[in-house]
Symmetry: none
Subunit: 150 residues, 2 copies
Amino acid sequence: MFRGAFEHTLDNKGRLSIPAKFREVLIGKGDERIVITNFVVEQARCLDVYPLDEWLRFEDEVRKKPRFERRMVSFQNYYLGGASECAVDKQGRILIPPLLREYAGLKRDVVLVSALDKFRVWDQQTWKKVFAEAEEKLMQDPDFLGDLGL
Amino acid sequence: MFRGAFEHTLDNKGRLSIPAKFREVLIGKGDERIVITNFVVEQARCLDVYPLDEWLRFEDEVRKKPRFERRMVSFQNYYLGGASECAVDKQGRILIPPLLREYAGLKRDVVLVSALDKFRVWDQQTWKKVFAEAEEKLMQDPDFLGDLGL
DNA sequence: TGCCTATTTGGCACTATTTGTCCTATAGTG
DNA sequence: CACTATAGGACAAATAGTGCCAAATAGGCA
């Protein structure tokens, strides 16, 4: 699965080259298509990127839930509504749809961060903040990891 | 199926061009006809757009239900009553019937949002509100996301 | 440390998509 | 019957997306 974090840059058309390490994972699956959607962690916006097969598995999970339950409706609007499929081009890039680019505040410098079966794309500044806050929390609460059973 | 969200504009005749990504799906079905009807999510009005075959399938579902049950009658009045069939023209546009345009408060800027087998059309301002509320709700309910494995 | 290879990025040209404008056909009205 | 208003269709300009090539950079190996 995906491992590591990489700093990359968008070109002026909004294209992002996928780190070779991540691309290898996709090639291993035999399908380089990905699905990309909006997400938010700790008030900070980012994009979630799934290999197509993982995304489909996830959609199936969602379909099993009660469709008209109110939180589910919100969730579908938010997470599924924004999801769009992209293909990786010959030099390993994807075009990030304008709305998503705008949502996550992606300008030039971005960071791609692995998250198990998927990875996330952050605006560099936003990522620095999120990362620093996470570190801070760990330092100030020594029991944090213990409480999680790690 | 449909994926992604797109900002488009109506021309002064009320015509809306369907995003190429969505049109591909219709072309894949070999039938570009669609059915469009009124809908409301979280108190906010929008339009539901179905490929014709999906709509027919949905009608069959409805037919199986007890026809004179009161809520079913209401639903039929509302959802089926507003439904109208449109064809996509040569440059990929549909004409949105005036009543529906008015219903959903469509002015110039609209957003087309995928929703699995169909998509929705929102007035841009309305969509922003609905989206922001959904985002808010999800942020405040981390357990819900946890249940979904996010 | 320096060379070689692989990866990433920038630039350019070409194609496709979207949108605004114009034109014609049709129906309604005087 | 002629004129006007309007809807629908087509054209064309502007914009955005895609593909390709090559420069620059980073990483690996000797």
